[in-house]
């Protein structure tokens, strides 16, 4: 076989190796931007045993909560992160008798990567009297409008909830 053909094959082989790398880099480039899909099409993280939760909520006496009741005109539907590394992350809170947990644990509904947040930091409960926020024994506390809460506190759309370095709000 001629020398020219042999060198051609040799160079062609090396070129193919580098073409593989260029293609791989292109795959990485196109992988940077994901696909946008409606949230409703996605599977929920885990099946919700709502029934038991509802039963407990019914059993719970509707004691008056400290603070003012949530205004009836604006019913908050979801809890959304408005400031912090995970801005935009949200969870539904409109189902009566359920709650949404905020924390670092992957089991939480809102998982925050924030060193100042406890594993299970706080929760927003949708009770009979509307929504209220409850600290779950966190290390650094939960703040509503700049004041650290020590008991379940009623919250509405105008309140600013702060945990660690993250700020959350309720949205209609």
């Amino acid at each position: 076989m001629s020398d020219i053909l042999l060198s051609g094959l040799k160079i062609g082989y090396l070129a193919l190796l580098w073409i593989f790398i260029l293609l791989a880099v292109n795959v990485i480039r196109t992988d940077l931007f994901g696909r946008r899909v409606p949230a409703s099409e996605l599977p929920a993280p885990e099946p919700r045993p709502v029934k038991t939760r509802n039963r407990r909520a019914e059993r719970t006496p509707a004691a008056p909560l400290p603070g003012r009741p949530a205004p009836a005109s604006v019913v908050p539907a979801r809890l959304i992160v408005t400031n912090g590394p995970q801005t935009g992350m949200a969870a539904e809170v409109d189902q009566a008798g359920t709650y949404v947990v905020i924390g670092r644990s992957p089991e939480c509904a809102i998982v925050l990567e924030d060193d100042y947040i406890s594993t299970r930091h706080a929760r927003v409960v949708n009770g009979d009297q509307g929504l209220y926020l409850e600290d779950m024994g966190s290390t650094n506390g939960t703040y509503v409008n700049g004041r650290r809460i020590s008991a379940p506190t009623s919250v509405g759309t105008e309140d600013e909830i702060r945990v660690g370095r993250t700020i959350l709000k309720l949205e209609p």
């Binding site: 060198s7 094959l9 040799k10 082989y13 090396l14 193919l16 190796l17 580098w18 073409i19 593989f20 791989a24 880099v25 795959v27 990485i28 196109t30 992988d31 931007f33 994901g34 696909r35 946008r36 899909v37 409606p38 949230a39 409703s40 996605l42 599977p43 929920a44 993280p45 885990e46 099946p47 919700r48 045993p49 038991t52 939760r53 039963r55 407990r56 719970t60 006496p61 909560l65 992350m89 949200a90 969870a91 539904e92 709650y99 949404v100 947990v101 644990s105 992957p106 089991e107 939480c108 509904a109 809102i110 998982v111 990567e113 299970r120 929760r123 409960v125 409850e134 008991a151 379940p152």
Partner: protein
């Protein structure tokens, strides 16, 4: 729809195309070897192609079936490295006069490795349960690491005691220990990272940990030193100590751990340099040409690189057989000779791509364990490639580690394929789209042991 979420695409067809290209490159190496040496394609070209593409497609189908959201580049990069490794082992097989057939054994190991990767993908599915076995995995890893020291079981080859021989087969248990200890470190550090991140004292702007937190790193240091002294293996001890230090750094975000690790490693290296075996390695690294008989291997590898030059001699046209152990420890010298520095750099790039995708998985992961595990697995892989390739090109003292997916050796092959399976599972879990809303189901009535007073009853 007002509310929408950005999710990762599956990209399985991209993976298929890349897998086919990667496998073709490996197969082309096999064909070119025969064209260059004998002037024709090998007689069993069809059978080999069918078998090789069949194995790759099987892996791809399993990924499509069980982990459809897995990273699209992991499988192609690994198949490229594995294919070129097999082709190079076959090429070196052809050098002695009655040609050897070591590649067949290596192909069987590759098949077994793929089978184990499939088992990991199909049986494990979710890597998070592994977090519960911290100390069992740690103990198992330590036992495996020290297994070659058992008299009658361990064997000493080429000055290092890192093999065991059971029923005629030899294994490198340190390779399996690599996988087990990475999982153990990851789950240990998830638990303890907050304590280990506490800064005791600041010096030169770097926060150093408290003295009482030094116990874990001290234990790892002692184990590495024990491995170094008793097995005379620089590579294994550096690999495990480096892995632990980097995972400590990643989990605590404290550069102080890196400083402590570097100091401890320096002290160990200084102490080890008095050992005869290590001294020989250091001499071969710094002054190889002073003692031709002793450093024949490393000298021959350097001549190989020089003879290969920029573009290499071409498949089958170099003389990699002159270097002892060119199929295992020195396979990158054989690549450098026949594919040139251009080819060797390409392969190092492919290793880098693999590591990069692993770190990308770690970045995208939502929970600490996945993050640390993916980081550890990619880093241990990167460190191993660095140590062995650096040894061959005389950047570092030569160590007896394997070149992942390329060098001859069964244990390394199957363990690395298991790592690939694990990374595919993690990347599937990480990239899989989930709605961000949801609620906690861990603390409902069914899981409650002690009746907790209702919220309103609290003061």
């Amino acid at each position: 729809m007002a509310e929408s979420v950005v999710v990762h695409r599956k990209r399985r067809n991209v993976e298929l195309a890349m897998v086919l290209l990667a496998q073709f490159i490996g197969l082309a190496g096999y064909a070119l070897t025969h064209i260059n040496l004998q002037g024709r394609l090998p007689s069993n070209m069809w059978a080999v192609s069918l078998l090789w593409f069949g194995l790759g497609l099987l892996m791809h189908i399993v990924v499509r079936w069980r982990t459809p959201y897995a990273d699209p580049l992991i499988l192609p990069s690994v198949l490229l490295l594995n294919g070129i490794g097999l082709a190079m082992i076959h090429r070196i097989d052809l050098i002695p006069d009655p040609p050897r057939n070591d590649v067949l054994v290596q192909l069987i190991w590759t098949g077994l490795g793929m089978l184990l990767a499939v088992l990991v993908i199909a049986v494990l599915r979710d890597h998070r349960p592994l977090q519960g076995y911290t100390y069992s995995l740690f103990l198992a890893g330590l036992v495996l690491l020290l297994l070659p020291l058992v008299p009658g079981l361990g064997v000493e080859l080429n000055g290092a005691r890192i093999w065991i021989r059971v029923a005629g087969f030899s294994f490198q248990p340190g390779e399996l220990a690599k996988l087990l200890l990475t999982i153990a470190f990851a789950s240990y550090l998830v638990d303890k990272r907050n304590a280990l991140a506490v800064v005791g004292r600041r010096f030169l702007g770097i926060g150093f940990p408290r003295p009482r937190d030094l116990l874990p790193i001290g234990v790892m240091w002692a184990v590495s030193l024990l491995v170094l002294v008793s097995q005379s293996d620089l590579g294994t001890s550096m690999l495990f100590f480096g892995l632990f230090v980097v995972m400590l750094y990643v989990s605590t975000e404290r550069p102080g751990w890196l400083v402590i690790g570097a100091l401890a490693l320096g002290a160990a290296a200084f102490a080890a340099s008095t050992l005869h075996h290590v001294q020989v390695r250091i001499d071969a690294w710094l002054h190889p040409f002073d003692n031709f008989d002793q450093n024949l291997q490393i000298i021959s590898a350097q001549f190989g690189f020089a003879w290969g030059g920029l573009l290499g001699r071409g498949w089958g046209l170099g003389r990699p057989g002159l270097t002892p152990l060119s199929k295992s420890d020195f396979i990158s010298a054989a690549i450098g000779e026949e594919l040139g520095i251009t080819g060797l750099m390409a392969l190092i790039m492919v290793y880098a791509l693999f590591v990069m995708r692993g770190l990308r998985i770690a970045l995208a992961a939502r929970d600490d364990f996945s993050k640390l595990l993916a980081t550890g697995l990619s880093f241990v892989f990167a460190l191993q490639v660095f140590l062995i390739t650096g040894g061959v090109i005389r950047l570092l003292p030569m160590t007896g580690l394997t070149t992942p997916f390329m060098s001859q050796g069964g244990t390394s092959m199957i363990v690395n394929w298991m790592i690939v399976g694990l990374l595919l599972v993690i990347s599937h879990q990480v990239r899989k789209p989930v709605a961000t809303s949801g609620e906690l189901s861990i603390a409902d009535d069914s899981t409650q042991l002690i009746s907790v007073p209702t919220t309103e009853a609290r003061p």
